[in-house]
């Protein structure tokens, strides 16, 4: 591996792409946008977590999940439960018939905090739950499906059904979940108001930092032998199995990892937006997540991040001016991606922009341009963030 020292990696071409994203998110956007817009970007960023997970799970391993909203929602709900409990002090809820419980419980004649809400008084438990609740559900689904060799379309349909089930469950259990309105009116995080502009800007930077942490984890997995097994599985599952691998275990692991990324995204979403509701859990948001992953380029981690940002920005833009047009634009976008550039923006970048970069580099005759190594991924499937080939 050529990334022996982190500094060397940062100065490699791939490292520079990461630096460029960091520069955009941590410097350019905060300087260019007012706090309101920056907070919106922060919201889009939380979807980038889902996109990274989908790139790993769908792009690299070929497991299409149409239920990532479930894990995003679970992470978001865990965080919302903590914030809601903090907002529901006996003093703040003195007018309720049962003070000290969330308002929606009181409205639904619930008189006692349910047992599964109790641990969410603890912030450290909540942080664990943000990771473990989505991770555990993904593990159960994974064991049930992958051990039985359910794959492809069947798996996608089942994940979609789970998204639908969870939405119905949340809406139906109004007294415990806040129902269709979700968990709203979240005010403070350990006494610190999350409603102010400064808080939102701080949370934006937290989201950026955590996003990079997740990106690096995903990149590490991708560049390990594990990552090569994923690609191999996507191509020739049987060959991997008969090379001595327990294919199900690899699928379960990557599906859980994607679910945990989505859960982190959901928790950061709740913090930045100030509420969580079933409208972020169901089938439609889950499919939107797949669309922005496809648009960005499902084989590229960075592509997924850009896809999430661009599609969500476009969604906001469209919805502000022509709200009724967005679903059509979204559909057109998806069809366009599938037909015209199946490898997404990352694929386009690799095909059209990177040759220009090569020419520029060669023009300057920098020594860095000399050892040009590209990956062995098929044609433009390989990605901007996938450049260094490990030469035997």
């Amino acid at each position: 591996m050529k990334t022996s020292s982190p500094l060397k990696w940062l100065l490699s071409r791939e490292g520079l792409y990461y630096l460029a994203l960091a520069l955009l998110l941590a410097v350019i956007l905060p300087l260019a946008l007012d706090p309101f817009r920056l907070n919106m970007v922060g919201k889009y960023l939380t979807y980038a977590f889902v996109a990274i997970g989908l790139v790993m799970c769908w792009g690299k391993a070929g497991i299409l999940s149409l239920g990532q909203g479930v894990f995003f929602g679970l992470g978001g709900y865990c965080m919302a439960m903590f914030l809601k409990l903090e907002a529901s002090t006996p003093e703040a809820t003195a007018h309720q018939s049962t003070p000290g419980i969330p308002d929606f419980m009181d409205w639904n004649q619930v008189t006692e905090l349910p047992w599964f809400w109790q641990p969410f008084h603890s912030f450290s438990f909540t942080l664990m739950a943000v990771l473990l609740v989505p991770g555990l559900l993904a593990f159960i689904i994974g064991v049930a499906m992958f051990k039985r060799r359910v794959s492809g379309v069947y798996f996608a349909i089942i994940t979609q059904a789970i998204a639908s089930i969870l939405t119905i469950l949340i809406i139906g259990q109004q007294g415990y979940t806040g129902g269709v309105n979700g968990i709203t009116d979240l005010q403070t995080l350990m006494g610190w108001s999350i409603r102010t502009d400064e808080a939102k800007t701080t949370l934006y930077f937290v989201a950026v930092a955590v996003l990079f942490l997740c990106l690096l984890v995903a990149r590490w997995v991708d560049h390990s032998k594990f990552g090569r097994i994923l690609l191999a599985m996507r191509d020739q599952e049987n060959r991997v199995r008969f090379s001595g691998y327990d294919v199900a275990a690899f699928k379960i692991f990557i599906f859980c990892l994607a679910a945990m990324f989505a859960g982190i995204g959901g928790a950061l979403f709740t913090l930045q937006v100030g509420f969580m509701s079933p409208s972020f859990v169901g089938i439609v948001p889950s499919i939107e997540m797949v669309v922005f992953c496809a648009l960005g380029g499902r084989y590229s981690l960075l592509g997924g991040v850009y896809g999430a940002l661009l599609v969500n920005a476009a969604k906001s833009g469209f919805s502000e001016s022509f709200p009724e047009l967005w679903p059509y634009a979204m559909g057109a976008l998806f069809i366009g991606v599938v037909l015209a550039f199946p490898n997404g923006l990352a694929g386009l970048y690799r095909r059209y922009v990177m040759p220009l970069e090569d020419r520029l580099l060669r023009g300057k005759k920098t020594p860095a341009a000399a050892p040009k190594e590209t990956t062995a991924r098929r044609d433009d499937e390989a990605l901007p963030d996938h450049l260094s080939v490990e030469k035997p």
Binding site: R228, R239, R241, F242, S243, G244, Y245, A376, E390
Partner: protein, 247 residues
């Protein structure tokens, strides 16, 4: 010869697909270092036998004992770790990975989730990959994506992926199918090298090729053993001539 001296003992093996017995009460035994070729007309159940041994298909009845272990109860990857390598009829290599990476994936280390995350490409791995690549004539193509190889080269690569596992039993399903004459000859040479220190079970149609490599030949017909013995023995067996070789 004592029964436990066999590397592989297949006894009473039966598999039935909705009542159709693709393999019917089949028994045969492989000695260590033996090269056994299975021949037979289409639909005789040859590939199914390999599927049963490697765990791809589950037996309805019967037993497959390999070095004292009962394979019919084991999972596919456990059978691989027990020492059985299987090459499929259509070359199945990982087209998105390089030749080097293809061989490395099969290297018998880092086969668990955590093991593969922690796997380091050390000198031993590189040496093993290069040595196998040399055996399968691909030493100059290590950095090439496997998708760009020719059909014959893919077949060799898949054989190489088995070799690097160091299996005690190597099963090859029509290794020279679709190869050019030159590739066929090279593959025969390759198999001769391999057979020096492996037990090999091959399915093949090319009688010339079979005669070249086989110690013993098993002829299958309708899921059963029709004849077994040296190539000359089966060639002259009237039942084999009747159903397979033709007059």
């Amino acid at each position: 010869m004592n029964k436990d001296d066999f590397l592989l003992s297949v006894e009473g093996l039966t598999v039935s697909f909705d009542g159709f017995k693709a393999v019917d009460d089949l028994s045969f035994y492989l000695e260590p270092q033996e090269i056994r070729v299975i021949i037979g007309p289409n639909g005789a159940g040859k590939t199914t036998v390999l599927d049963l041994i490697c765990g791809k298909t589950r037996a309805t009845a019967g037993s497959i004992r390999f070095r004292g272990k009962e394979l019919t109860k084991m999972k596919e990857h456990q059978i691989v770790h027990a020492g059985v390598g299987r090459k499929f009829q259509n070359p199945s290599v990982f087209e998105d990975l390089t030749v080097f990476e293809n061989l490395e994936v099969s290297y018998p280390m880092g086969h668990t989730v955590m093991g593969s995350l922690a796997f380091k490409r050390d000198a031993a791995v590189i040496e093993a990959v290069e040595s196998v690549a040399h055996t399968i004539f691909l030493q100059d193509l290590l950095a090439e994506p496997a998708g760009l190889l020719s059909h014959g080269q893919k077949q060799w690569l898949e054989i190489g992926m088995l070799l690097i596992q160091k299996p005690a039993l190597l099963m090859l399903d029509e290794p020279v199918a679709g190869m050019s004459v030159a590739e066929r000859k090279k593959t025969a040479d390759l198999l001769r090298v391999i057979t020096r220190d492996h037990t090999v079970l091959v399915i093949e149609h090319d009688m010339q090729f079979v005669g070249d490599i086989a110690d013993r030949v098993t002829v299958m017909h309708q899921g059963k053993v029709l004849s077994e013995g040296s190539i000359d023995h089966v060639k002259n067996d009237p039942r084999v001539i009747e159903v397979y070789l033709g007059h």
